[in-house]
Structures are given as C-alpha cells and as structure tokens.
C-alpha cells in the first residue's frame, strides 16, 4: 500500500514545493536553493524506491492487457463524469496514475536530472535563482505526471502543461537574443503537434466504446481492447485501415515532439537558445516525451496499423536520422548546436528500437532513452560549466586546451563523450546494440545504415574533444587565466549520472530484468502484428515461457 503513495508524492509534491518556492522567491535568501536541492535529492530516493517497488511487484497483476502497471494509484475521487454519452453509455471515466517499469525508468531519469540541474544551478544561475529552482521543480512534477499517467486524459493534460514552465525557463534565463524567436518556434511546432494528438486520442476513446462497452480512457483497458480486437479481427489490412487516421494523427503529434525527421527543426534552436543548464533538462527529459508517447500509446494501442503503415518508413527515418544528425554535428561550430544534432542522431536509435516492434527493440529503445538522458544532461551541464568560465564556445581556430586547465572537467568530458560514442562497458552500447539487434530481424538494410552512426558518432565527438580539450596547453592560455576547475557541487551533480552509465554498461540486466515482464507483454501483440504483415520479417523461434 505504501508504494502506491509514492506516486502522488512524486507527481504533486514537486509541483507544490515548486509553486511555494516561486511564491516566496525574491527574498534574497540563500536557503531556498538548499531546500530545492535537498528536496530533489529526496525525490531521487523516492524514484529509486518506486523502481524497486515495481521490480518487487512483478507478476502480481492478473488483468489482461499489454499495459499492466505494477503499482496503481486511482482512488475513486479521480473519476470524471461528463454530461454526454458515447455509444449510448454515459461518460464516466476513471482516471489513474500508475507505474510500470517504463514509467519507473523515466521517473528515475527525471529525478536524477532535476537533481543535477538544481545542483549545478547553484553556480550557473546567478539571476533569480529562487524562481529558477521553483520552476524546475514544477517542471519535474509535471514530467513525472506524464510518465506516471495511466490514462489518456491525464497524459494529455500533463503533456501540454509542461510547455508553460519550459517556455518561461527558456525566456527568462535563456540567451536574450535568441530565446524569444526560439521559444516561439518551439511553441508553434508543439501546438501544431498537439492538435492532431488530441484528434488521435479522441479517436481512440471513441473507438473503445461499443454497444456493450462504455468508453474508457484507461490505458490498461484500452490496450486490452486493442489486443482483443487484434485477436478477433486478425492482423488484416482492413483492421489496419480502420486505425489509419488515428495512427496518422498520433504519429504527426508525437513525431514533432520526438523530432522525427523532417519535423525536427525546432530542436537545434530550442536547445541552443536556452541556458545550457535548462537545456540539460529539456534535452534529457522533455526531448524524450515524443518517443515515450510512442511507447506508451501508439505501440500498444495501434500495433497493427503501425506495422502496416509506419514500421518500415519510420524505422528508415530513424536510421537516416542517426546518420543525418551525426553528419551535421560534424561541421557545427557552436557546441550547443552540435550537441543538439548529436541528440537527433542518438534518438534515432530509440526510433529504430521501437520500430523493430520486438523484445530486443523495445528493451533497447527504453534503455537508450534512459542512457541518452543521462549523457546528454551531463554534456549540456558541462557545456554550461565551460561557458561560464570561457564564454560561449565556438570551435574554430582558437586553441582551448581545456583539459590541462580543468583536469577534472576534462576527465568527465572524456568519460561522457566515450559513453555517448557507444563504448562497450558504458551505457549507450547496450541500447544501441539491442536496438540494432531488434531491427536486424526486420530489415538488414536499415541496420546497415544505422551502423554507420557508430563511426560518424565517434567522429564528431572525438573532434570536439580534440579541439576543445586537447591539442594545446590550456594552462598557458590567457583566456583561461583566473578560472578554476569544477567544484564539489558539480561533482555531486555529475557523479550519479556517471555512476549509472557504468552500472548500465557493466550489468544492464540490473534494469532489463525489471523491464522484462513489460517488454514481453508488449511483444505478445507487436511481434505477431509485424510478422503477419511483413512475412519476410523473422520472428525468432525463441519464445521464452
């Protein structure tokens, strides 16, 4: 029972604390950021507790369906009665929060990144830091809401609500020249995505209602319905086409949010206009919302249509994004933009994994979401640290030689760069190899493109190290004079992220064992759907019981 209370705690408490901090902000009291940081530290503990609880509660749920949250929080008062009827049934929607392993992983990521962001904000953010801390906590709460929502309505509300603090964070603390234009672009793109998303969600809810059955917004029920109709109607073209419009709307909505090629152009501007400290949160967590939506809603609710209309196309787009992003990153001179394109490239592996629609793919995509969050957060935080000491970094003819000037920062930079470049023993390798292994069972050609990303990804990443960290003695460089290496607060922020990179790399089963049950459930409907419509796809004989 107690584990259930973790869920409202994780969602509503950060919002509450954040709002309170915003209200008392401006009193020039230094303890506010202490409170914010310690509170976010507590949230990390709560998130770990949630993950453990999810791990412990595996298999306890008996209900059918592809989504079965191990921990559910849905008291009777979270019920919505609407004054109209669908298919002759009055609308009486039960809302629910809950956690399965996918949610729990993302919650852990969010809490860790928030903690790191607040920790580094102590030195990075000099103006209105109390307000900043408050806003970050509000963002955290809303993000937790997205990941823990187990019904479409709450999911949608949180999904849209997160824009408000993000836009404010971008504008108040972002680059004064760029942020207005960038946030306008971000908002336009996102709003363009939300409208089809609403249409898609409404479509799903309407389809869920039949003469015998009232409509529902609960994801576990909806996924059970989807699976049932897949079994009764079979994996056929006609069934797929009945879901086509819903799928198209959802894919457009989530596609923009996940920066699916060619809908990605909001991403570089957004990432480079915000303060790097903020970008760390945006890139690590907000940038994952699109793919999370795909995993949470599109995959379990419209698997048949997905495999007919999207699997190959979107999978190819993902593979192209890997190469495309890496190539563009190669010639970027602004470090922030470079990292933005690198995100585009790395997220291609997530798309690849999801579109594989099998066990390896889904597990790989989830791990990769988590991995990329850790790495990209660390990278943007470190860019912030460098920029604070050196001003905005532009790669060019100037010699930085920062490794000699800031050895600790140099060590961490090399570490996270290697992690991002997919070095085995660190985390990205696990996600990438699983995603590619999954995809290989669908199409060797797509993997053939994606595997180039391992070369190109190393190319731009090592080029950054070569020019920024190495190649000259930064100690004798006048522009580095008077600045110090990173301090303990920065270490406290980055060390947990680094530690997790190692844990996942050395023993990924720590996390995949928890995910296994959920991944297997998803695969039960996804693999047959993909196989029936693309007979060439190899669904392997190994089905573990």
């Amino acid at each position: 029972m107690t584990s259930q209370l973790l869920i409202p705690l994780l969602v509503f408490l950060p919002i509450l604390v954040g709002v309170t901090l915003c209200l008392v902000a401006g009193k020039k009291s230094s303890w506010i950021s202490d409170i914010a940081t310690s509170f976010s530290g507590l949230m990390v503990i709560a998130a770990i507790a949630l993950l453990c609880a999810v791990h412990g509660a595996q298999g306890s749920s008996e209900a059918a369906g592809l989504i079965q949250p191990q921990i559910v929080f849905g008291p009777a008062w979270m019920e919505l009665k609407l004054p109209f009827a669908i298919q002759g049934h009055s609308v009486n929607w039960q809302l629910q929060l809950g956690a399965d392993s996918f949610s729990a992983m993302m919650v852990l990521l969010t809490s860790l990144v928030t903690f790191a962001v607040l920790m580094t904000a102590r030195t990075q953010i000099t103006e209105r830091r109390d307000l900043y801390d408050g806003m970050i906590l509000i963002t955290q709460g809303i993000l937790m809401g997205i990941f823990l929502a187990m019904d479409l309505l709450l999911f949608y509300v949180f999904f849209e609500a997160v824009l408000i603090p993000i836009i404010l964070l971008m504008n108040i603390w972002g680059d004064p020249k760029e942020s207005l234009r960038a946030s306008r672009k971000f908002l336009l793109f996102t709003l363009a995505g939300s409208i089809p998303m609403v249409v898609g969600i409404v479509g799903i809810v309407l389809q869920s209602a039949t003469a015998e059955r009232a409509s529902t917004v609960l994801l576990p029920q909806l996924s059970a319905i989807a699976f049932e109709s897949q079994l009764t109607r079979g994996v056929t073209e006609s069934f797929a086409s009945s879901q086509f419009l819903i799928l198209a709307a959802l894919m457009l909505g989530f596609g923009i949010k996940m920066a699916l090629l060619p809908l990605h152009s909001w991403l570089p501007t957004t990432y480079s206009a915000s303060h790097p400290n903020t970008t760390a949160l945006i890139a690590a967590v907000v940038g994952k919302l699109g793919v999370y939506g795909l995993l949470r809603i599109v995959l379990p609710l419209t698997p048949v249509a997905l495999s007919v209309y999207c699997q190959i196309v979107v999978g190819t787009l993902g593979a192209i994004a890997i190469v495309y992003g890496a190539l563009i990153a190669l010639k970027q001179t602004d470090l922030r933009r470079l990292m933005a394109y690198s995100s585009l490239s790395h997220m291609g592996f997530v798309t690849l994994g999801l579109m594989a629609m099998n066990r390896e793919g889904i597990a790989g995509a989830t791990i990769q979401m988590f991995n990329h969050g850790l790495i990209t957060a660390a990278m943007f935080l470190m860019i912030g640290m460098i920029e604070q000491r050196r001003g905005r970094l532009v790669l060019g003819n100037e010699n930085f030689g920062l490794a000699a000037a800031y050895p600790h920062l140099g060590f961490l930079m090399v570490f996270f760069t290697l992690a991002g470049a997919g070095l085995p023993g660190l985390n990205s390798f696990v996600g990438e190899i699983l995603a590619m292994m999954g995809m290989l069972r669908v199409s060797a050609g797509i993997v053939g493109i994606a595997v180039l990303g391992t070369v190109l990804g190393a190319w731009y990443a090592l080029r950054v190290l070569q020019h920024v960290m190495f190649s000259s003695d930064g100690k004798t460089n006048k522009r580095n004079a008077g600045t110090a290496d990173i301090g303990w607060a920065d270490w406290v922020a980055l060390a947990p992220l680094a530690l997790l990179c190692i844990v996942i790399g050395v023993r990924p089963s720590t996390f995949t064992d928890t995910m296994k049950v959920d991944v297997d459930r998803m695969a039960v409907s996804l693999e047959p759907a993909a196989k029936a419509l693309h007979p060439t796809i190899d669904t392997l004989a190994v089905v573990k019981k």
């Binding site: 793109f189 190669l330 099998n358 000699a404 180039l452 023993r507 089963s509 573990k544």
Partner: protein, 652 residues
Amino acid sequence: MLEMLAWAIPVAPLIGCLVCTILAFRGDRDWAHWPAVMALAISAVCTLALVATFSDESGVAVVHGYTWLDIGSLRLDVSLRLDSLSLTLLSVVTVVSCLVAIYSREYMRGDPGYARFFAVFSGFVFCMTMLVMANNLLLLYAFWEGVGTCSYLLIGYYYRKPSAAKAAVKAFLVNRVADCGFLLGILLLSYAIGQTSVGAGASVVGRLDFATIFAASQELFNKFPDLVGWIAFLLVIGAIGKSAQFPLHVWLPDAMEGPTPVSALIHAATMVTAGVYLMARMAPLMVYAPDVLVTLAWLGAITSIAAAVMAMFQYDLKRVLAYSTASQLGYLFMALGCIAVPDMMTIAVMAAMFHLFTHAFFKALLFLSAGNVMHAMGDVIDMRYFSGLRKVLPKTNVLFGIGAAALAGLPPFAAFFSKDTILSLLSDASADTDYGGHFTGLMVVGFLTAFLTAIYTSKTYFHTFWGKEVTPPEAGDHPHEATTIMLLPMVILAVGAVLAGLLLGPTGSILHYIAKTPGMDALHGEHHEAMWVLVTSTLVAIVGVAIGYKLAQPSTSKAVSNDFVTAIGDFGRNRLYIDTIYQALIVTPSEWFAKWLGWFDETVVDGLTQLVGQSPGFAGLMLKRFQTGMVSSYAMVTACGIAALALWIATQ
C-alpha cells in the same frame, strides 16, 4: 582453484587501473607504478600457473561470471574461456605487459601524467586479457573496443601536442570503421544462428558463445552459404582494422605519437595481434569461407610488402618499427589464409600464433631499445640526426642487435623459425588444387618481404649504432645509457627473442599445444619443413643484411642516389600516398557533404516546415490576430485553456 586463477588475470589489472586512477586525481608522480606493476605481475604469474596446470579432457574450460543481459533472443554471459589458443596469447600479453610496465617506471619517471599513464596501461591489460578470454563473440567485441579506447587514450597521452591529439583520433576512427563492419558481422551472425537448430532450441543458449557458433557453423553453411561468406568478410574487416592491414593500416604509424613503452606493448606486441587472434578463434567458422580467407591472405601480402617498402625509407626510427610491425602482421594473415586449404587449419593457426609469439618478444625489445635511444638523444628520434651510438649506448647496442637479428630472420634467432614455418606452410598450401596458384604467389611475396625486411632492419641497426658517432644538440653533453631497471626487462625479452623460436618450433611443442584447442582439426601425421625453404630464407636473410649494411654507409647512399631512387624514396616516405588519397576521396568529401547538409537542414528543411506550420495562420484573419509572436501571449492562452479545463472538471 582454476576459477580463482582465471579471474585473477583480468581482475588484478582492473584493480591496478582503479588505484592508479585515484592516484592520478591526487597528482601522484612517484607511486603509481607500484599498483600497476604488482597487478600485472599477479596476472602474469596466474597465467603461467594456468599454462602449467591446465589440462582438461575437452581442452577447454569455461569459467562463468554473471549474466550481462538476457532479453528477447539475446543472452550474454560474462564468462571466461580457457583453452590452448587463449592461453598462448594470454601468456604473451601478461608477460610482455609486466616487463614493459617495469621499464616504464624509469622511462616515464617524473612525467606530469605518471599515474594517468599507469592507470590506462593497466586498463589496457584488463581489456586485452578479457578480449583473449572472452567466451562470447559480443564480449570479445566489447573488449575489442575497450583496447581501442585505451590505445586512443595512450596515443593521445601527450595531449597538449596537436599531432598526438590528432593521431589519437585517427587511430580511433580508422578502428571504428573496421569495428563497424565487425559489429554488423556479429549482428548478422546472431541472426543467422537463431535460424539454426542449435540456436533456436534451448532458450538458455548464448547465441554468440563460441561453442554455439562452432556447433552451428556447419548447419549455417548448409543453410546460408552466401550469408556465411558475408559474415566472414565483415569479421575480416574488423580484423584488418585492429591489426593495421592494408587498406586500414594508416593509423599505426601515427600511433607512434604515444610514449614508447605504449608502442612496444600495444602497437607491436599485443593489441595489434587481436585481429589475428579473432581470425584464429573463429577459424572453425572461417573455414567455410575460403574465398574470403584467400582475400585476407592477399591483403596480408600487400601489407607485408608495401609496409616493408615504406619502412625502408622512413627517417623516424619508431616509424620504421611501426611499418615493420604492419609488415610482420601481414605474414600472420598470409598464414591464416591457409585455413582455406583442407586439413591445414590447425597448422595455419599454429604458424600464425607461433610467429605472433616470437614477434611479440623481439618487436617489444626493438621498441624498448628505440626508447633508450630516444631517452639518450633528448627525445630526438629522427635517424638523420644521430648515428654510431655503440659507444654511447653499449648495452642497448647489443639488445637492439639481438632484436634486429631476430627480425631479419637470421638463424638461430626466433623469427627464423617462426617465419620459416609460415613460408613452408605457404609452400605446402601451393600444392592445393583450388587455391594453389594463389599460395604460390603469396609464397613469393613472403620471400620478397623477408628480403626487404633484412635490408631495412640491418640498415637501421648499422646506421644507428655503427659508423661515425653523431649526436643531436638536444642530447646534451653526456648522453647516457639506460638504467638497470630499464635494461632488466629488455634482457628477459632478448632471451625470449633468442630462444623462443628454437624451443617451440623444431620441437613441435607449440603445434601440439595449439592443436588441443577445441574446434581445430585433428593433426594428420607429422609436419616437416621443407629443406629448400630453410636454405633459401637463410640466404635471403644474409644477403639482405649485407645490402642493408652497405646502404647504411653514408658514402654509398650518396653514390646510388639518382632520380629513380629519390622517386621511390619520396613515394615510400609519403606512405605511398595512401593517406593523401583517403583524405581527398573520403574525409574531405564527407566533411563537405556534412557542411552542405547543415546548410540544407537550416534553410530548406527548417524553412519548409516553418512554412507549413505557419500556413494555417495565413488562412484566417481571426487566427492571424492572435499570432502576435509574443510568447507570453501564447503561454497565456495555453494557461487559460488549461485553467478552464481544470475549472470545468472541478464543476462536474
């Protein structure tokens, strides 16, 4: 007991690495060699103990660790595989690394990155031992990348130097290109094994465990003959990248930017042999792709002769040795190519491992001697600035001489036996009906390379240590011989360079040892080396050494310098223009394309999506009025909308 010993081999260097990392953060410059040397010594002792005691009926022991990953079709255990093949390479790796670490204590003394050096050094040995003992192809790949990364960090050890930083990136990227192929090969293999009865049967089977691969390879070949060829080809790409074979050899000469002990250990004795080990390990699968093997042999042949030519014209002592390494590794691949001939798998693998074994000793010895020269000459390594050092460095003179004699293939030094094993293997293989012609050609190349090797080796040696004494100004007034701590490990290596060939080759002990590896063919009768091969190669070596001696004389080198020789020399010094061609055909176009793509993304893609995104705004005046461009107003609208929704929910 077996498990304890086996795990101690990789774990000791890992602990050494961690301790040295902590010391590095504390800025240590005096103590870091202790954890490293002790860890490596433990590793070496455990390895030798295993070699002495290991005798299993099946010839293999698998030591289980933990389950790394188990999801979907992929199951991967971290477990160690002990058999003759892995133990052979393992003993080279641990013994040589321990000796080089002792040498480095003096060589790196007082360097600002002292602890960092030993941290990465131990880390490398950890990765390398795990690579050798990996029981699973994906695990092998993981540590394959790991040794590459340690190599990257060590080449870039003097990271303030732009050339070192650049060389490090080059090495990593060229290796990554190869690894990209290797990875695709692994992925395809895991897919293909899933289609066989072996892979599909039990769910606990690790698909990429070597035992599974070997068990499945016959069925794989029957089911997908083409796919097996492709997989073998992709594995070959991985192997030639790591072992610096044409056309991916370009990173090795630049890798000499690293400290000399690193060149000795990683870029001569151990890491570069990983490609050879991969091919030897995968021999039971590779045997089903004879065409790929012959291609591999030819790539080795091209490398061995081209690198010998390039070595001939280098001024940089370390680069001569680097090209010589690539050239010698070419021999190993020529030997491995003979797996294509029926019933010769075991002998081919044995010949490759034998030469690998001896090469590790004499090449490490040569590199460490070059390190002594470099130390004495004030870090000058260009041979145009020094000569006649036999009085300055009397002991190094002897040690370098032993290494050079071994490399040149003079009897009875080690490489004489191991190289002849390969040459007579090629001569045996040329009797094959299908591929005999190829192997005849390969044998000719082998002799030619042996000749060139003798020439450049003796030229380098005689130029450096004999003739008129010249030292560069950087060397100071009293260039000095290396200390005892540096010389001691070199002496042990020299003993190996003299005796290893004689002890292992003619006695047949290495052949019978390697033949115990599971998956190898049974031996057919006794293996005899052809007498004419022995005689010819002895003559070739002696004549080559004599020519090299002549070339080392300043007067003769002037006398023969005509246009043709200068042209060849320029060609060789410019690395046959291969690097230039890569730059012009691959790197520059990619960068150009990347730049264009950046422009395309920012203007065309962004422009079009923005246009589409804004088009509803133009549709109606109503909407246009709200497009104020003020973000706060957008946020306001959204906030109002959500507030209204909340209010509405509350009133229900």
